[in-house]
Symmetry: C2
Subunit: 364 residues, 2 copies
Amino acid sequence: MTGRHMPDGKAKAGSGPTLVDVAQAARVSLATASRVFSHPAMVRDSTAQRVHEAARRLDFRPNLLGSKLRAQQTRMIGVMLPTMDNAVFAECWRGIEEAALAAGYSLMLVTSGYDPKRERERVEYLLRHRVDGMVLTVADAARSAVLDQLDAEGVPYVLAYNQAGARSRRHSVSVDNRGSACDGVEALIAAGHRRIVVVSGAFVASDRARQRYAGYQDAMRAHGLVPSPVLSLPSHTASNAAQLRAQIEADDAPTAFFCTNDLLAIGVISDLRRLGLRVPADVSVLGYDGIALGTVMEPALATVVQPNTDIGARAVGRLLAWLHAATGEAPAAARVTLLPHALRVSGSIAAPPGGIRPRPLRSP
Amino acid sequence: MTGRHMPDGKAKAGSGPTLVDVAQAARVSLATASRVFSHPAMVRDSTAQRVHEAARRLDFRPNLLGSKLRAQQTRMIGVMLPTMDNAVFAECWRGIEEAALAAGYSLMLVTSGYDPKRERERVEYLLRHRVDGMVLTVADAARSAVLDQLDAEGVPYVLAYNQAGARSRRHSVSVDNRGSACDGVEALIAAGHRRIVVVSGAFVASDRARQRYAGYQDAMRAHGLVPSPVLSLPSHTASNAAQLRAQIEADDAPTAFFCTNDLLAIGVISDLRRLGLRVPADVSVLGYDGIALGTVMEPALATVVQPNTDIGARAVGRLLAWLHAATGEAPAAARVTLLPHALRVSGSIAAPPGGIRPRPLRSP
DNA sequence: GTGAAAGCGCTAACAG
DNA sequence: CTGTTAGCGCTTTCAC
């Protein structure tokens, strides 16, 4: 917009000196100047020196738009995550940003809010920006219009968190949702719990929640216990207390809750407290995700820990490998990457209360 | 990379049909086809119709790179935030994304981690992408190399959270940090507290923390109380318990803590609990930020609530106004926007304990 | 090693 | 209203 000061008097309207100006100042051709930055090996050292000097003297700043357009590849990765409000994805973003920028790639972030309509819009937005590929997390990979579209158009992408099925052709980086959930529930069982209820958010919409529920079933059955149906809590607000109360006042009240994500778990712990229960003395709570916040709380949140930052970084890594394979087809090997998970069994998990189940207090 | 199917047999190597193809198919000139999308009013309806049809038939997807390069304005906003790991900025991002995309602008997000060196790199990155302007939060606006650079280059930008001084030429959107902090501390005083300590993270590095501390001093002095020096906790980990213990074991132990941000407050509450104190029965804690998580906890986090999402949206709004003013100079009026704050005085705040100060338990 | 020239896809004068 | 034309800044054959 505003004109800029030109030391040599040659005023330019636009946004600063271009490669042409640099070439001129260094008394080389445009082509050579370009090569100094793109293919340094192709140019004599002394020449490169002159060009660099000229560039520095003129405060030359390469216009990425030009190179991206011309090169027909933007070195940009589109990222679509459900929301930044869940720390899981915020932590993941850190990994994505580090990995991408380190590799000289640029990023374009959009959030979908788990809304299929917005997913389509945002993906279209990314496509118009001509991203070379995408890293994304969708609500349910198995029935995702947007993924189908990407497949049809041959756009390289890798899923983060969504765990592609063994027979899927899709690429994904995640933990073993089912297996890790099973591990978590087994820890609960090992602590002495028998009546364990799974709490989930929008259960039907989330493939991960379903996979984790399956893991819960595995663990229960492996120990001769009968799985309960999932308790689906639509929101993360305190209004969930009512549904929780119904659970804990039942005769066969659960002694432990397994929440399919940490945010939910934190809310459940608070609700339980409001209902007069102590966590973990009266009731245990296990989360899933391993967000940093969980370690800060008191009691610390017991949870299945995913390597969130690493999931992001690895997803970028896989995508880059694909992009650089340049065969147009993704490397066949290892479509689905399963990262190791960990268990944090502490704080919000304890043995179930002895013979006497404490009477929940009525809230005032 | 991969070739795409062309219905009419004219195979194209690149990434799909271009405007030229559409123009051809619609039997109009390239210029007309372009106008249909950029200046619909300039073209006859029937013609526009033909073009739209052709575009749809060919699955035409405009290449934003082309228009951005040619138009010499990218309609892109660069966003630099300290981190997504703090919910404050995640909430802010929501506002930014909504406002920008609604206005037809694209975004490019980077995080600085409060690191000045990274700030420079990331800003350079944004500049190379030729963003039209920026929305950013820096550690300390008063001594920010990156802001000075932006000023020198005449890049339009508006600060979010950083509150530009009255005599500054900079644009900012924030709450009144000092005044709102004062309000919060007065609520503490109104609840009966006299000995109040301010807890902060990297205090010297954050202009907001300093402003909020000043607000604390205002409140204390207004009530004839003597402000304590700030208790600076470098990290958000549990190791802070030691410093907190020193505070609460002192003879004139504070009855309330004012934390300069919510994340810190949550950590402090946990640490206090670990030290055997009940919040708010034994000690009160006031936060600052108003992140959603605070309402989920038990007890709910008392805090000074900023309109985080709105701060982001308004910052974009101000930047857009600036960009559209097109005079090259920012609209002189209202450089600094102060958004209203709110107080959430509940949960973690109560009257100080009666005559007897509870003895903190030693941790096992 | 280096230079000349041809565009990437699109917009914006300028004519008609 | 519509078409012709000239690039935006950069990379990349193709010669030399």
